[in-house]
């Protein structure tokens, strides 16, 4: 409640032209927004600029924030739209990546056969090639699917938060997340970074 009051005070000050109040207002979101931008556009430099631009957009539009959603929901909506705009702009200038195109990986040293019993997702996630694959697959998804999986699995939004932020209906949120995850899974399996589903037997399910 106190945070809420502080937040609306900062908003009021920022609207009346206090740049420092704005910086304080958005500081808690900076890392998240930067990560989101990074996952959405792929390069750290672009993400830096994109995140800065998104925050300035938020600042300019702050007078139109009416408080019918929470400030963070509204902020992420602006950020998400900025990311989507950026993707649309660069897609026109760059060749579109196809979902079927092979991902650039260094050498054939990736051919590690993961043993199903000892497979540990968290271990896997720490390996550089897994991270690279994950990033690459996410970047190949259609912008809407990309946004869905980034918000859900990287930024830890709930389904409701995603629906509120992006104005999608709940069914759309579910299906986009489902599609994006399936694409990610298929790619990881294809690169043999994840055991093929058939490897599991019915009794080994809760391994």
């Amino acid at each position: 409640m106190n945070d809420r009051a502080r937040e609306s005070e900062l908003i009021a000050r920022a609207v009346s032209g206090d740049g420092d109040a704005f910086a304080e207002l958005v500081q808690p979101f900076e890392a998240k927004v930067y990560n989101l931008a990074c996952r959405m556009c792929g390069s750290r430099e672009d993400a830096y600029d994109l995140a800065q631009e998104a925050f300035l957009k938020v600042y300019r539009a702050l007078g139109r924030f009416k408080g019918d959603s929470s400030f963070s929901t509204w902020l992420y909506r602006v950020v998400a739209n900025t990311c989507l705009d950026q993707i649309r702009r660069t897609r026109r200038s760059r060749a579109v990546l196809s979902l079927d195109a092979p991902v650039d990986t260094e050498g054939g040293s990736l051919r590690r056969e993961p043993a199903d019993a000892s497979f540990d997702p968290e271990d896997a996630a720490l390996r550089a090639e897994v991270q690279r694959e994950v990033r690459a697959v996410v970047l190949q998804l259609a912008p809407d699917h990309r946004l869905a999986i980034v918000l859900r699995d990287f930024e830890d939004f709930s389904y409701e938060e995603i629906a509120d932020t992006l104005g999608w209906n709940p069914g759309t949120v579910k299906s986009r997340i489902s599609r994006a995850r399936a694409a990610l899974r298929d790619r990881l399996v294809e690169r043999e970074l994840l055991p093929r589903p058939g490897v599991y037997s019915a009794k080994g399910v809760d391994a």
Binding site: G17, D18, G19, D20, F22, A23, V26, Q27, E30, A31, Y34, N35, C38, R44, Y48, A51, Q52, F55, L56, Y59, R60, F119, P121, E122, A124, A125, L126, V130, Q131, V134, I149, R152, D153, F154, D156, Y159, K174, S175, I177, S178, R181, A182, L184, R185, L188, V189, L194, P195, R196, P197, G198, V199, Y200, S201, A202, G204, V205, A207
Partner: protein, 437 residues
């Protein structure tokens, strides 16, 4: 994998993993997973994928990010402030000089090019027609724009007793109606008297409530009473309604232009005690007009009750069915249907509640005014002439005001036209200069 059910389940596995499905569907999927090894393996693989995605480390925010943002926000604030300072004073002289140049441009160009004069005339004509139409519609809305007394004055809208006497019967829309309150009253009893003819002026409430066995009515009474002291009568009327278990819904209490105090109340009185309350209300003074109406809503009430009953049965059946759903498609279909039925039940129930409220509480619209006013004094010819003259004077005053408002309204478009015209003029001139060179 083989059955279509597996395909359905796999579509939902992702949401299932996050616990984002409704309980029925969740149960269905759990059951399926315990019996289908291939789907279970699929679920496990998806779980691992999500775990990987969740465990991918986050990037650290570059150290200078916040400082850079602070700087840009300050710069932005400074630009905005600077723009706000400069914008307003800079524009006005610009507009004025533009307008002046436009006017002198018109004068100059007419001498050189006759077609420009034609175009300008056409534009002016459009403007005049538009202005005229505008003024016409404004005039229609001028209150009191009625020099010949065509419109009824406020006092005349009080209906005369003699004209409304009798029973006007409008066929009620029985059987199909499910909207509340839109039915015309199917019985209107109007009783009124002017001057001293109020002896028999009581509404025949007997006939309103008679024949009412098993039927349901909405009763409304409109009553105008002339009394000695309006404020006292008003308090008394409210006390009467409250004493009978009713309440005052609205009150309008004002003094009109002639210094007469008038109170206009809407009282809600339990239908059962309407007759005694009315009797007391009539005692407040002299009845000027009285009208009562009753709308028979029996059919509507039965209809709504039946609908709610049917929908409840349907809901019960659907709840049984949902336990027996064979596949996901059915499950979703049933769930959708359940939601629809629930919404309908709630809608009809609220209509029914509103109807019940209207039935149990009759409405008394009561107007209290000082004795001997609000009737229709037979004005002499001379009085009417004077009145008409006064009205026309009043109307002229209002027309003057409207013209000023109209002029103010036109300033915006005129400036716009001027700017457009000036721009066009400059364009034509520039082109001519280029052609000449």
């Amino acid at each position: 994998m083989a059955s279509p059910r597996c395909a359905n389940v796999r579509e939902l596995l992702s949401a299932h993993l996050d616990g984002a499905l409704d309980p029925h569907t969740r149960l269905f999927i759990d059951q399926h997973l315990s019996s289908c090894a291939s789907c279970a393996a699929e679920a496990e693989s998806l779980k691992a994928t999500v775990a990987i995605a969740h465990a991918v480390p986050r990037l650290e925010l570059p150290k200078d990010f916040h400082a850079a943002l602070v700087q840009r926000a300050r710069a932005e604030a400074a630009t905005v402030a600077a723009q706000a300072r400069h914008r307003r004073p800079a524009r006005v002289p610009g507009l004025a000089s533009g307008f002046g140049a436009f006017l002198s441009g018109i004068g100059g160009s007419f001498r050189r090019k006759p077609w420009q004069a034609i175009a300008a005339t056409a534009a002016a004509l459009v403007l005049v027609v538009w202005t005229g139409a505008f003024a016409y519609f404004m005039g229609m809305n001028v209150p009191g724009f009625d020099p010949f007394g065509f419109k009824k004055s406020d006092q005349q809208t009080l209906f005369s007793g003699a004209d409304d006497r009798g029973t006007g019967s409008t066929p009620g829309s029985e059987g199909t109606g499910n909207t509340v309150g839109s039915q015309p009253p199917d019985m209107t009893l109007g009783v009124g008297g002017a001057g001293g003819k109020t002896g028999s002026g009581a509404t025949d409430l007997g006939s309103l409530t008679q024949g009412a066995a098993g039927r349901q009515f909405i009763l409304s009474v409109y009553l105008t009473i002339g009394c000695d002291k309006v404020s006292v009568a008003k308090d008394r009327a409210v006390a009467l309604a409250e004493g009978a278990g009713g309440f005052m819904e609205s009150l309008n209490y004002w003094t009109d232009a002639n210094g007469l105090t008038i109170a206009s109340l809407v009282l809600r009185v339990p239908a059962t005690s309407l007759a005694p309350v009315l009797k007391e209300l009539r005692g407040l003074g002299e009845i000027v007009t009285e009208q009562a109406a009753r709308a028979d809503v029996t059919a509507q009430h039965i209809d709504l009750t039946a609908r709610v009953g049917n929908l409840r049965l349907q809901e019960q059946r659907l709840l049984v069915l949902i336990g027996r759903a064979e596949n996901l498609t059915d499950l979703f279909a049933i769930e959708n249907e359940l939601a629809r039925v629930r919404t309908e039940i709630e809608s009809y129930e609220s209509q029914l509640r509103a109807l019940d409220e209207q039935i149990s509480l009759s409405t008394v619209s009561l107007t209290l005014q000082p004795k001997g006013t609000g009737l229709f004094p037979e004005a002499s010819l001379w009085q009417r002439i004077v009145e008409a003259f006064m009205r026309s004077l009043k109307w002229l005053g209002q027309l003057g005001g409207q013209i000023v408002i109209l002029a103010a309204t036109l300033v915006g478009p005129l400036v716009l036209f001027a700017l457009l015209g000036y721009g066009l003029y400059r364009l034509v001139q520039a082109r001519r200069r280029r052609m000449g060179a």
